[in-house]
Protein backbone atom coordinates (compact mmCIF):
# COMPACT_ATOMS: atom_id res chain seq x y z
CA UNK A 1 0.00 0.00 0.00
CA UNK A 2 1.25 3.44 -0.89
CA UNK A 3 0.15 4.81 2.47
CA UNK A 4 2.74 2.60 4.20
CA UNK A 5 5.45 4.54 2.45
CA UNK A 6 4.22 8.04 3.17
CA UNK A 7 7.11 8.70 5.55
CA UNK A 8 9.73 8.22 2.87
CA UNK A 9 7.63 9.74 0.07
CA UNK A 10 7.65 12.94 2.08
CA UNK A 11 11.38 13.15 1.33
CA UNK A 12 11.57 11.47 -2.07
CA UNK A 13 8.94 13.57 -3.84
CA UNK A 14 10.62 16.96 -3.39
CA UNK A 15 14.07 15.37 -3.81
CA UNK A 16 13.11 14.00 -7.23
CA UNK A 17 11.27 17.15 -8.27
CA UNK A 18 14.36 19.34 -7.74
CA UNK A 19 16.50 17.91 -10.59
CA UNK A 20 13.35 17.80 -12.74
CA UNK A 21 13.17 21.59 -12.38
CA UNK A 22 16.69 21.88 -13.75
CA UNK A 23 15.71 19.83 -16.82
CA UNK A 24 12.52 21.79 -17.44
CA UNK A 25 14.23 25.20 -17.29
CA UNK A 26 10.97 27.07 -17.84
CA UNK A 27 10.27 29.48 -14.97
CA UNK A 28 6.48 29.18 -15.02
CA UNK A 29 6.41 25.40 -15.35
CA UNK A 30 8.96 24.92 -12.56
CA UNK A 31 6.96 27.28 -10.37
CA UNK A 32 3.79 25.28 -10.98
CA UNK A 33 5.67 22.06 -10.24
CA UNK A 34 7.14 23.44 -7.01
CA UNK A 35 3.70 24.63 -5.89
CA UNK A 36 2.07 21.27 -6.57
CA UNK A 37 4.89 19.41 -4.81
CA UNK A 38 4.74 21.66 -1.76
CA UNK A 39 1.01 21.04 -1.44
CA UNK A 40 1.50 17.28 -1.82
CA UNK A 41 4.06 17.45 0.99
CA UNK A 42 1.59 19.33 3.15
CA UNK A 43 -1.08 16.71 2.49
CA UNK A 44 1.35 13.92 3.40
CA UNK A 45 2.47 15.57 6.60
CA UNK A 46 -1.11 16.19 7.74
CA UNK A 47 -1.95 12.55 7.01
CA UNK A 48 1.10 11.48 9.03
CA UNK A 49 0.04 13.75 11.88
CA UNK A 50 -3.40 12.13 11.93
CA UNK A 51 -1.88 8.66 11.84
CA UNK A 52 0.43 9.49 14.74
CA UNK A 53 -2.43 10.94 16.77
CA UNK A 54 -4.53 7.84 16.09
CA UNK A 55 -2.02 5.01 16.36
CA UNK A 56 1.17 6.43 17.87
CA UNK A 57 4.72 6.36 16.58
CA UNK A 58 5.34 5.33 12.96
CA UNK A 59 8.56 3.43 12.27
CA UNK A 60 9.76 2.99 8.70
CA UNK A 61 12.78 0.87 7.81
CA UNK A 62 14.51 2.12 4.67
CA UNK A 63 14.95 -0.73 2.20
CA UNK A 64 13.66 -3.17 4.81
CA UNK A 65 16.94 -3.17 6.76
CA UNK A 66 16.18 -3.47 10.44
CA UNK A 67 17.52 -0.84 12.83
CA UNK A 68 20.08 -0.27 14.28
CA UNK A 69 21.93 -1.57 11.18
CA UNK A 70 19.68 0.04 8.63
CA UNK A 71 18.54 3.63 8.58
CA UNK A 72 15.13 4.03 10.07
CA UNK A 73 12.69 6.89 9.82
CA UNK A 74 10.66 7.49 12.88
CA UNK A 75 7.71 9.82 13.20
CA UNK A 76 6.27 10.61 16.60
CA UNK A 77 4.24 13.54 17.87
CA UNK A 78 7.21 15.92 17.83
CA UNK A 79 8.40 15.07 14.29
CA UNK A 80 4.90 15.18 12.89
CA UNK A 81 4.43 18.61 14.46
CA UNK A 82 7.63 19.98 12.91
CA UNK A 83 6.75 18.36 9.56
CA UNK A 84 3.43 20.18 9.55
CA UNK A 85 5.17 23.48 10.35
CA UNK A 86 7.72 23.12 7.54
CA UNK A 87 5.32 21.87 4.89
CA UNK A 88 2.58 24.37 5.64
CA UNK A 89 5.08 27.23 5.38
CA UNK A 90 6.35 25.66 2.14
CA UNK A 91 2.81 25.43 0.77
CA UNK A 92 2.14 29.10 1.53
CA UNK A 93 5.51 30.34 0.31
CA UNK A 94 5.47 28.78 -3.18
CA UNK A 95 2.38 30.63 -4.48
CA UNK A 96 3.83 33.83 -3.00
CA UNK A 97 7.23 33.12 -4.56
CA UNK A 98 6.20 33.63 -8.18
CA UNK A 99 5.91 37.43 -8.36
CA UNK A 100 8.41 38.16 -5.61
CA UNK A 101 11.10 35.96 -7.17
CA UNK A 102 10.49 37.39 -10.65
CA UNK A 103 11.16 40.83 -9.22
CA UNK A 104 14.21 40.02 -7.10
CA UNK A 105 16.01 37.21 -8.95
CA UNK A 106 17.46 37.17 -12.47
CA UNK A 107 14.68 35.70 -14.60
CA UNK A 108 16.92 33.28 -16.49
CA UNK A 109 17.90 31.68 -13.18
CA UNK A 110 14.42 31.26 -11.75
CA UNK A 111 14.32 27.52 -12.45
CA UNK A 112 17.41 27.07 -10.27
CA UNK A 113 15.69 29.03 -7.55
CA UNK A 114 12.72 26.63 -7.49
CA UNK A 115 15.02 23.60 -7.64
CA UNK A 116 16.94 24.93 -4.63
CA UNK A 117 13.75 25.76 -2.75
CA UNK A 118 12.58 22.16 -3.19
CA UNK A 119 15.99 20.79 -2.16
CA UNK A 120 15.99 23.00 0.90
CA UNK A 121 12.57 21.71 1.86
CA UNK A 122 13.79 18.14 1.28
CA UNK A 123 16.72 18.69 3.62
CA UNK A 124 14.59 20.25 6.34
CA UNK A 125 11.98 17.48 6.13
CA UNK A 126 14.76 14.89 6.12
CA UNK A 127 16.31 16.26 9.32
CA UNK A 128 12.90 16.09 10.90
CA UNK A 129 11.92 12.62 9.83
CA UNK A 130 15.14 10.66 10.17
CA UNK A 131 15.92 8.41 13.10
CA UNK A 132 19.62 8.13 12.32
CA UNK A 133 22.17 10.57 13.70
CA UNK A 134 24.48 10.46 10.67
CA UNK A 135 21.63 10.64 8.18
CA UNK A 136 20.60 13.80 10.02
CA UNK A 137 23.98 15.32 9.18
CA UNK A 138 23.51 14.50 5.48
CA UNK A 139 20.12 16.21 5.39
CA UNK A 140 21.55 19.10 7.41
CA UNK A 141 24.08 19.66 4.64
CA UNK A 142 21.52 19.24 1.85
CA UNK A 143 19.41 21.99 3.37
CA UNK A 144 22.46 24.12 4.20
CA UNK A 145 24.06 23.95 0.74
CA UNK A 146 20.78 24.83 -0.98
CA UNK A 147 20.31 27.66 1.53
CA UNK A 148 23.69 29.19 0.63
CA UNK A 149 22.68 29.21 -3.02
CA UNK A 150 19.27 30.70 -2.24
CA UNK A 151 20.76 33.52 -0.16
CA UNK A 152 23.25 34.43 -2.88
CA UNK A 153 20.59 34.68 -5.62
CA UNK A 154 19.39 38.20 -4.93
CA UNK A 155 20.45 41.23 -6.92
CA UNK A 156 22.12 42.92 -3.93
CA UNK A 157 25.82 42.00 -3.95
CA UNK A 158 25.90 41.90 -0.17
CA UNK A 159 23.87 38.70 -0.48
CA UNK A 160 27.02 37.02 -1.83
CA UNK A 161 29.17 37.85 1.18
CA UNK A 162 26.30 36.98 3.52
CA UNK A 163 26.04 33.57 1.83
CA UNK A 164 29.82 33.08 2.02
CA UNK A 165 29.94 33.92 5.72
CA UNK A 166 27.02 31.62 6.39
CA UNK A 167 28.80 28.86 4.43
CA UNK A 168 31.86 29.14 6.67
CA UNK A 169 29.85 29.21 9.90
CA UNK A 170 27.38 26.57 8.76
CA UNK A 171 30.11 24.15 7.70
CA UNK A 172 31.94 24.60 10.99
CA UNK A 173 28.68 23.92 12.83
CA UNK A 174 27.84 20.82 10.80
CA UNK A 175 31.40 19.50 11.18
CA UNK A 176 31.20 19.96 14.96
CA UNK A 177 28.01 17.95 14.83
CA UNK A 178 29.64 14.99 13.02
CA UNK A 179 32.58 15.04 15.40
CA UNK A 180 29.98 14.55 18.13
CA UNK A 181 28.28 11.74 16.22
CA UNK A 182 31.68 10.08 15.63
CA UNK A 183 32.57 10.17 19.32
CA UNK A 184 29.21 8.61 20.21
CA UNK A 185 29.74 5.91 17.60
CA UNK A 186 33.15 5.12 19.12
CA UNK A 187 31.59 4.53 22.50
CA UNK A 188 28.36 2.80 21.54
CA UNK A 189 28.75 1.38 18.04
CA UNK A 190 25.35 2.75 17.09
CA UNK A 191 24.07 5.64 15.01
CA UNK A 192 20.37 5.09 15.56
CA UNK A 193 18.94 7.91 17.65
CA UNK A 194 16.52 5.73 19.62
CA UNK A 195 19.16 3.04 20.09
CA UNK A 196 21.66 5.63 21.32
CA UNK A 197 19.04 6.78 23.79
CA UNK A 198 19.03 3.25 25.27
CA UNK A 199 22.79 2.74 25.26
CA UNK A 200 23.94 6.06 26.70
CA UNK A 201 22.63 5.85 30.29
CA UNK A 202 25.20 3.14 31.10
CA UNK A 203 28.15 5.19 29.95
CA UNK A 204 26.93 8.72 30.67
CA UNK A 205 29.86 9.47 32.99
CA UNK A 206 32.30 8.77 30.18
CA UNK A 207 34.32 11.83 29.18
CA UNK A 208 34.09 10.97 25.47
CA UNK A 209 30.31 10.90 25.59
CA UNK A 210 30.20 14.25 27.33
CA UNK A 211 32.58 15.70 24.74
CA UNK A 212 30.22 14.39 22.07
CA UNK A 213 27.33 16.21 23.72
CA UNK A 214 29.38 19.42 23.78
CA UNK A 215 30.30 19.14 20.10
CA UNK A 216 26.74 18.39 19.02
CA UNK A 217 25.23 21.17 21.13
CA UNK A 218 27.66 23.81 19.88
CA UNK A 219 27.31 22.64 16.27
CA UNK A 220 23.52 22.82 16.34
CA UNK A 221 23.54 26.15 18.20
CA UNK A 222 25.47 27.63 15.26
CA UNK A 223 22.72 26.33 12.98
CA UNK A 224 19.90 27.70 15.09
CA UNK A 225 21.75 31.00 15.64
CA UNK A 226 21.77 31.09 19.43
CA UNK A 227 23.67 34.08 20.80
CA UNK A 228 26.74 34.37 20.52
CA UNK A 229 26.88 32.06 17.48
CA UNK A 230 24.38 34.14 15.49
CA UNK A 231 26.69 36.37 13.47
CA UNK A 232 25.73 34.83 10.10
CA UNK A 233 22.00 35.36 10.48
CA UNK A 234 21.20 39.12 10.24
CA UNK A 235 22.97 39.72 6.93
CA UNK A 236 21.78 36.43 5.46
CA UNK A 237 18.16 37.36 6.18
CA UNK A 238 18.53 41.02 5.21
CA UNK A 239 20.16 40.56 1.80
CA UNK A 240 18.58 37.30 0.62
CA UNK A 241 15.65 37.66 -1.81
CA UNK A 242 12.53 38.37 0.30
CA UNK A 243 10.82 35.08 -0.44
CA UNK A 244 13.94 33.17 0.65
CA UNK A 245 13.95 35.11 3.90
CA UNK A 246 10.31 34.19 4.49
CA UNK A 247 11.03 30.51 4.00
CA UNK A 248 14.25 30.42 6.05
CA UNK A 249 13.00 32.55 8.92
CA UNK A 250 9.92 30.40 9.28
CA UNK A 251 11.54 26.96 8.91
CA UNK A 252 15.34 26.63 8.96
CA UNK A 253 16.11 27.76 12.50
CA UNK A 254 13.02 25.91 13.76
CA UNK A 255 14.29 22.63 12.34
CA UNK A 256 17.69 23.23 13.96
CA UNK A 257 15.92 23.76 17.29
CA UNK A 258 14.14 20.47 16.68
CA UNK A 259 17.49 18.72 16.07
CA UNK A 260 18.83 20.11 19.36
CA UNK A 261 15.72 18.86 21.15
CA UNK A 262 16.36 15.38 19.71
CA UNK A 263 19.96 15.40 20.90
CA UNK A 264 19.15 16.59 24.40
CA UNK A 265 15.90 14.77 25.10
CA UNK A 266 16.17 11.60 22.99
CA UNK A 267 19.85 10.72 22.51
CA UNK A 268 20.70 11.92 26.00
CA UNK A 269 17.14 11.35 27.20
CA UNK A 270 17.97 8.44 29.47
CA UNK A 271 20.16 10.60 31.69
CA UNK A 272 18.79 13.91 32.78
CA UNK A 273 21.60 15.55 30.83
CA UNK A 274 20.55 19.16 31.32
CA UNK A 275 20.99 18.65 35.06
CA UNK A 276 23.77 16.07 34.96
CA UNK A 277 26.35 18.26 33.25
CA UNK A 278 24.63 21.57 34.02
CA UNK A 279 24.37 22.82 30.47
CA UNK A 280 20.92 24.03 31.42
CA UNK A 281 22.39 27.10 33.18
CA UNK A 282 24.59 27.93 30.20
CA UNK A 283 21.69 27.64 27.76
CA UNK A 284 19.40 29.75 29.95
CA UNK A 285 22.05 32.47 30.23
CA UNK A 286 22.62 32.51 26.46
CA UNK A 287 18.88 32.52 25.80
CA UNK A 288 18.32 35.52 28.07
CA UNK A 289 21.22 37.45 26.57
CA UNK A 290 19.80 36.63 23.11
CA UNK A 291 16.35 37.91 24.14
CA UNK A 292 17.78 41.27 25.20
CA UNK A 293 20.64 41.73 22.76
CA UNK A 294 18.45 40.72 19.80
CA UNK A 295 15.67 43.14 20.74
CA UNK A 296 18.06 45.96 21.65
CA UNK A 297 19.97 45.79 18.37
CA UNK A 298 16.69 45.49 16.44
CA UNK A 299 15.66 48.90 17.79
CA UNK A 300 18.57 50.61 16.00
CA UNK A 301 18.19 49.00 12.57
CA UNK A 302 17.30 51.12 9.55
CA UNK A 303 16.71 48.13 7.28
CA UNK A 304 13.45 46.52 8.37
CA UNK A 305 14.34 43.06 7.08
CA UNK A 306 17.46 43.27 9.22
CA UNK A 307 15.42 44.51 12.15
CA UNK A 308 13.11 41.49 11.88
CA UNK A 309 16.18 39.24 11.65
CA UNK A 310 17.49 40.56 14.97
CA UNK A 311 14.04 40.14 16.42
CA UNK A 312 14.24 36.48 15.29
CA UNK A 313 17.39 36.10 17.39
CA UNK A 314 15.42 37.27 20.41
CA UNK A 315 12.59 34.86 19.62
CA UNK A 316 15.04 31.96 19.31
CA UNK A 317 16.09 32.96 22.82
CA UNK A 318 12.52 32.34 24.06
CA UNK A 319 12.45 28.89 22.45
CA UNK A 320 15.77 27.84 23.97
CA UNK A 321 14.76 29.30 27.33
CA UNK A 322 11.64 27.13 27.29
CA UNK A 323 13.55 23.98 26.34
CA UNK A 324 16.30 24.45 28.90
CA UNK A 325 13.78 24.73 31.73
CA UNK A 326 13.66 20.95 31.51
CA UNK A 327 10.01 20.66 32.53
CA UNK A 328 6.93 19.58 30.58
CA UNK A 329 5.53 23.11 30.69
CA UNK A 330 8.81 24.69 29.60
CA UNK A 331 9.44 22.32 26.72
CA UNK A 332 5.87 22.60 25.47
CA UNK A 333 6.15 26.41 25.63
CA UNK A 334 9.30 26.21 23.52
CA UNK A 335 7.68 23.84 21.03
CA UNK A 336 4.49 25.85 20.67
CA UNK A 337 6.61 28.92 20.05
CA UNK A 338 8.27 27.10 17.14
CA UNK A 339 4.93 27.00 15.36
CA UNK A 340 3.71 30.40 16.51
CA UNK A 341 6.90 32.19 15.61
CA UNK A 342 6.95 30.50 12.19
CA UNK A 343 3.56 32.08 11.44
CA UNK A 344 4.38 35.52 12.85
CA UNK A 345 7.81 35.92 11.26
CA UNK A 346 6.73 34.28 8.02
CA UNK A 347 3.85 36.76 7.84
CA UNK A 348 5.99 39.79 8.72
CA UNK A 349 8.70 38.91 6.21
CA UNK A 350 5.95 38.43 3.61
CA UNK A 351 4.83 41.99 4.34
CA UNK A 352 8.39 43.15 3.73
CA UNK A 353 8.43 41.11 0.52
CA UNK A 354 5.35 43.04 -0.66
CA UNK A 355 6.99 46.35 0.30
CA UNK A 356 10.16 45.45 -1.57
CA UNK A 357 8.03 44.36 -4.54
CA UNK A 358 6.37 47.79 -4.71
CA UNK A 359 9.09 50.24 -3.64
CA UNK A 360 12.24 48.17 -4.21
CA UNK A 361 13.66 48.90 -0.77
CA UNK A 362 13.39 47.61 2.80
CA UNK A 363 14.78 50.79 4.36
CA UNK A 364 12.65 52.43 7.01
CA UNK A 365 13.00 55.94 5.52
CA UNK A 366 11.75 54.77 2.13
CA UNK A 367 8.65 53.32 3.75
CA UNK A 368 7.28 56.71 4.87
CA UNK A 369 3.62 57.20 4.08
CA UNK A 370 3.01 53.62 2.96
CA UNK A 371 0.21 53.29 5.50
CA UNK A 372 -2.17 55.18 3.21
CA UNK A 373 -0.88 53.73 -0.05
CA UNK A 374 -0.70 50.05 0.96
CA UNK A 375 -3.36 49.88 3.71
CA UNK A 376 -3.85 46.10 3.67
CA UNK A 377 -0.15 45.24 3.67
CA UNK A 378 0.66 47.70 6.41
CA UNK A 379 -2.40 46.61 8.37
CA UNK A 380 -0.97 43.09 8.21
CA UNK A 381 2.33 44.46 9.54
CA UNK A 382 0.59 46.04 12.52
CA UNK A 383 -1.32 42.84 13.27
CA UNK A 384 1.85 40.75 12.93
CA UNK A 385 3.76 43.22 15.08
CA UNK A 386 1.14 43.01 17.83
CA UNK A 387 1.51 39.26 17.72
CA UNK A 388 5.29 39.55 17.99
CA UNK A 389 4.91 41.72 21.08
CA UNK A 390 2.50 39.20 22.57
CA UNK A 391 -0.77 41.10 22.89
CA UNK A 392 -3.66 38.88 24.11
CA UNK A 393 -5.66 37.07 21.39
CA UNK A 394 -2.48 36.56 19.34
CA UNK A 395 -0.26 33.49 19.10
CA UNK A 396 2.60 35.49 20.58
CA UNK A 397 0.54 35.80 23.75
CA UNK A 398 -0.19 32.08 23.83
CA UNK A 399 3.47 31.09 23.75
CA UNK A 400 4.68 33.82 26.11
CA UNK A 401 1.93 32.98 28.58
CA UNK A 402 3.01 29.33 28.46
CA UNK A 403 6.60 30.38 28.98
CA UNK A 404 5.69 32.59 31.95
CA UNK A 405 3.72 29.76 33.53
CA UNK A 406 6.69 27.45 33.11
CA UNK A 407 9.03 29.98 34.74
CA UNK A 408 6.64 30.55 37.64
CA UNK A 409 6.16 26.83 38.12
CA UNK A 410 9.87 26.62 38.80
CA UNK A 411 9.62 29.68 41.04
CA UNK A 412 11.94 31.71 38.81
CA UNK A 413 10.46 35.17 39.36
CA UNK A 414 13.42 37.11 37.97
CA UNK A 415 13.26 35.17 34.69
CA UNK A 416 9.52 35.77 34.41
CA UNK A 417 10.14 39.50 34.83
CA UNK A 418 12.90 39.39 32.20
CA UNK A 419 10.54 37.68 29.74
CA UNK A 420 7.99 40.47 30.17
CA UNK A 421 10.58 43.27 29.89
CA UNK A 422 12.15 41.84 26.74
CA UNK A 423 8.67 41.43 25.20
CA UNK A 424 8.04 45.10 25.82
CA UNK A 425 11.21 45.95 23.89
CA UNK A 426 9.42 44.61 20.81
CA UNK A 427 6.90 47.44 21.28
CA UNK A 428 9.68 49.95 20.61
CA UNK A 429 10.91 48.54 17.32
CA UNK A 430 7.44 47.78 15.99
CA UNK A 431 6.29 51.29 16.96
CA UNK A 432 9.21 52.90 15.09
CA UNK A 433 7.93 51.31 11.90
CA UNK A 434 4.29 52.21 12.57
CA UNK A 435 5.23 55.82 13.25
CA UNK A 436 7.13 56.23 9.98
CA UNK A 437 4.60 54.34 7.90
CA UNK A 438 1.44 56.01 9.22
CA UNK A 439 2.45 59.43 10.52
CA UNK A 440 5.02 60.61 8.01
CA UNK A 441 4.13 61.90 4.59
CA UNK A 442 5.34 59.98 1.54
CA UNK A 443 8.56 61.42 0.09
CA UNK A 444 7.82 63.98 -2.63
CA UNK A 445 9.71 62.29 -5.46
CA UNK A 446 8.06 58.90 -5.17
CA UNK A 447 5.54 57.76 -7.76
CA UNK A 448 2.18 56.57 -6.44
CA UNK A 449 2.47 53.14 -4.82
CA UNK A 450 -0.25 50.58 -5.36
CA UNK A 451 -1.38 47.85 -3.01
CA UNK A 452 0.52 44.56 -3.28
CA UNK A 453 -0.73 42.09 -5.93
CA UNK A 454 -3.39 39.65 -4.81
CA UNK A 455 -1.17 36.63 -5.36
CA UNK A 456 1.23 37.89 -2.70
CA UNK A 457 -1.44 39.33 -0.45
CA UNK A 458 -3.40 36.09 -0.02
CA UNK A 459 -0.49 34.00 1.36
CA UNK A 460 0.49 36.95 3.59
CA UNK A 461 -3.02 37.33 5.00
CA UNK A 462 -3.27 33.55 5.42
CA UNK A 463 -0.25 33.49 7.73
CA UNK A 464 -1.28 36.59 9.67
CA UNK A 465 -4.83 35.25 9.88
CA UNK A 466 -3.51 31.92 11.16
CA UNK A 467 -1.53 33.83 13.77
CA UNK A 468 -4.86 35.13 15.11
CA UNK A 469 -6.87 31.95 14.60
CA UNK A 470 -4.42 29.93 16.72
CA UNK A 471 -4.09 32.85 19.11
CA UNK A 472 -7.81 32.97 19.87
CA UNK A 473 -8.05 29.19 20.10
CA UNK A 474 -4.66 27.97 21.24
CA UNK A 475 -5.92 24.68 22.70
CA UNK A 476 -5.13 22.52 19.65
CA UNK A 477 -1.55 23.72 19.32
CA UNK A 478 -0.88 23.69 23.07
CA UNK A 479 -2.34 20.20 23.28
CA UNK A 480 -0.07 18.84 20.54
CA UNK A 481 3.01 20.59 21.96
CA UNK A 482 2.09 19.37 25.44
CA UNK A 483 1.80 15.74 24.28
CA UNK A 484 5.12 16.00 22.40
CA UNK A 485 6.78 17.48 25.50
CA UNK A 486 5.37 14.78 27.76
CA UNK A 487 6.73 12.10 25.44
CA UNK A 488 10.16 13.77 25.51
CA UNK A 489 10.34 14.36 29.25
CA UNK A 490 8.81 10.94 29.84
CA UNK A 491 11.98 9.52 28.29
CA UNK A 492 13.84 10.87 31.31
CA UNK A 493 12.21 8.50 33.71
Amino acid sequence: MITDHLVVLQIIIPLMAAPLCVFIRNANVTWALATVISWICLAISITLMQQVMATGEIIYELGGWAAPWGIEYRVDMLNAWVLVIVTSIGAVVTPYAKLSAEKEIDNDRLYIFYAMLLLCETGLLGITVTGDAFNLFVFLEISALSTYVLISMGKDRRGLTAAYRYLIMGTLGATFYIVGVGLLYMQTGSLNIADLGNLIPDIADNRTVQAALAFMTVGLCVKLALFPLHMWLPNAYAFAPSVVTVFLAATATKVAVYALVRVIFTIFGGVDILEAVQISDVLIAMAIVAMFAGSAVAIYQTNIKRMLAYSSLAQIGYMILGLSMNSVLGVSAGLVHLFNHAMIKGGLFMVMGCVVYRIGSAKLDDMAGLGKQMPVTMGAFVLGGLSLIGVPLTVGFVSKWALLQAALEKGWWPIAVLIVISSLMAVIYIWRVIEVVYFQAAPAGRAAVKEAPLMMMIPMLTLIGAAYYFGIDGTTTMDIAGRAAEALIGGLK
Partner: protein, 118 residues
Amino acid sequence: MMEFPGQLIYWIVVVMMMMGFYIVIAQGNFVKKIVGLNVFQVSVFLLYITMGKVTGGTAPILADGIEIYSNPLPHVLILTAIVVGVATTSLGLALVVRINEEYGTIEDDDILEQESDA
Protein backbone atom coordinates in the same frame (compact mmCIF):
# COMPACT_ATOMS: atom_id res chain seq x y z
CA MET B 1 44.79 7.98 31.81
CA MET B 2 45.97 8.76 28.34
CA GLU B 3 49.74 8.59 28.12
CA PHE B 4 51.48 10.99 25.83
CA PRO B 5 51.91 10.11 23.02
CA GLY B 6 49.82 6.99 23.66
CA GLN B 7 47.05 7.81 21.20
CA LEU B 8 49.24 9.68 18.78
CA ILE B 9 46.64 9.68 16.01
CA TYR B 10 44.13 11.54 18.18
CA TRP B 11 46.72 14.18 18.95
CA ILE B 12 47.26 14.59 15.21
CA VAL B 13 43.50 14.92 14.69
CA VAL B 14 43.10 17.54 17.40
CA VAL B 15 46.13 19.57 16.29
CA MET B 16 44.96 19.51 12.66
CA MET B 17 41.46 20.46 13.68
CA MET B 18 42.64 23.45 15.68
CA MET B 19 45.03 24.51 12.90
CA GLY B 20 42.17 24.50 10.40
CA PHE B 21 39.90 26.32 12.82
CA TYR B 22 42.56 28.95 13.46
CA ILE B 23 43.07 29.55 9.73
CA VAL B 24 39.34 30.05 9.24
CA ILE B 25 39.22 32.65 12.02
CA ALA B 26 42.53 34.42 11.50
CA GLN B 27 42.78 34.69 7.72
CA GLY B 28 41.09 37.58 5.96
CA ASN B 29 41.48 36.11 2.48
CA PHE B 30 38.34 34.26 1.40
CA VAL B 31 40.22 31.51 -0.46
CA LYS B 32 42.54 30.89 2.49
CA LYS B 33 39.53 30.62 4.77
CA ILE B 34 38.26 27.79 2.57
CA VAL B 35 41.66 26.09 2.74
CA GLY B 36 41.39 26.28 6.53
CA LEU B 37 37.89 24.84 6.37
CA ASN B 38 39.25 21.91 4.36
CA VAL B 39 42.01 21.20 6.88
CA PHE B 40 39.36 21.29 9.59
CA GLN B 41 37.15 18.82 7.76
CA VAL B 42 40.00 16.47 6.84
CA SER B 43 40.90 16.14 10.53
CA VAL B 44 37.39 14.80 11.12
CA PHE B 45 37.79 12.36 8.22
CA LEU B 46 40.94 11.07 9.95
CA LEU B 47 39.07 10.71 13.23
CA TYR B 48 36.43 8.53 11.59
CA ILE B 49 38.92 6.41 9.62
CA THR B 50 40.94 5.82 12.77
CA MET B 51 38.02 4.50 14.75
CA GLY B 52 37.26 1.87 12.13
CA LYS B 53 40.64 0.19 12.59
CA VAL B 54 40.64 -3.09 14.51
CA THR B 55 44.08 -4.17 15.75
CA GLY B 56 45.31 -6.96 13.50
CA GLY B 57 42.26 -6.63 11.29
CA THR B 58 42.41 -6.57 7.54
CA ALA B 59 40.30 -5.02 4.81
CA PRO B 60 36.69 -6.18 5.15
CA ILE B 61 36.65 -8.54 2.16
CA LEU B 62 35.61 -12.15 2.75
CA ALA B 63 38.58 -14.49 2.21
CA ASP B 64 39.74 -17.85 3.52
CA GLY B 65 41.87 -17.94 6.63
CA ILE B 66 41.08 -14.43 7.80
CA GLU B 67 39.31 -14.01 11.09
CA ILE B 68 39.57 -10.33 12.01
CA TYR B 69 38.26 -7.53 9.84
CA SER B 70 38.37 -3.78 10.32
CA ASN B 71 35.03 -2.04 10.72
CA PRO B 72 34.01 -0.71 7.30
CA LEU B 73 31.11 1.41 8.48
CA PRO B 74 33.06 4.53 9.55
CA HIS B 75 34.80 4.47 6.17
CA VAL B 76 31.46 4.44 4.37
CA LEU B 77 30.19 7.25 6.56
CA ILE B 78 33.19 9.38 5.90
CA LEU B 79 32.91 8.77 2.18
CA THR B 80 29.58 10.59 2.43
CA ALA B 81 31.16 13.35 4.47
CA ILE B 82 33.95 13.71 1.89
CA VAL B 83 31.37 14.17 -0.85
CA VAL B 84 29.64 16.82 1.26
CA GLY B 85 33.02 18.47 1.84
CA VAL B 86 33.75 18.59 -1.90
CA ALA B 87 30.34 20.11 -2.56
CA THR B 88 30.87 22.72 0.15
CA THR B 89 34.33 23.62 -1.14
CA SER B 90 33.17 23.99 -4.73
CA LEU B 91 30.17 26.09 -3.73
CA GLY B 92 32.38 28.22 -1.48
CA LEU B 93 34.89 28.81 -4.28
CA ALA B 94 32.08 29.60 -6.71
CA LEU B 95 30.84 32.23 -4.27
CA VAL B 96 34.38 33.64 -4.00
CA VAL B 97 34.52 33.99 -7.80
CA ARG B 98 31.20 35.89 -7.77
CA ILE B 99 32.36 38.06 -4.86
CA ASN B 100 35.51 38.90 -6.77
CA GLU B 101 33.41 39.91 -9.79
CA GLU B 102 31.18 42.19 -7.73
CA TYR B 103 33.67 43.71 -5.28
CA GLY B 104 36.96 43.40 -7.16
CA THR B 105 38.61 41.92 -4.07
CA ILE B 106 38.41 38.85 -1.86
CA GLU B 107 39.97 40.39 1.25
CA ASP B 108 37.60 40.56 4.19
CA ASP B 109 38.76 44.03 5.31
CA ASP B 110 38.34 45.64 1.88
CA ILE B 111 34.89 44.12 1.48
CA LEU B 112 33.76 45.33 4.90
CA GLU B 113 35.01 48.80 3.98
CA GLN B 114 33.02 48.77 0.72
CA GLU B 115 29.93 47.51 2.52
CA SER B 116 30.08 50.20 5.20
CA ASP B 117 30.19 52.87 2.47
CA ALA B 118 27.15 51.47 0.73
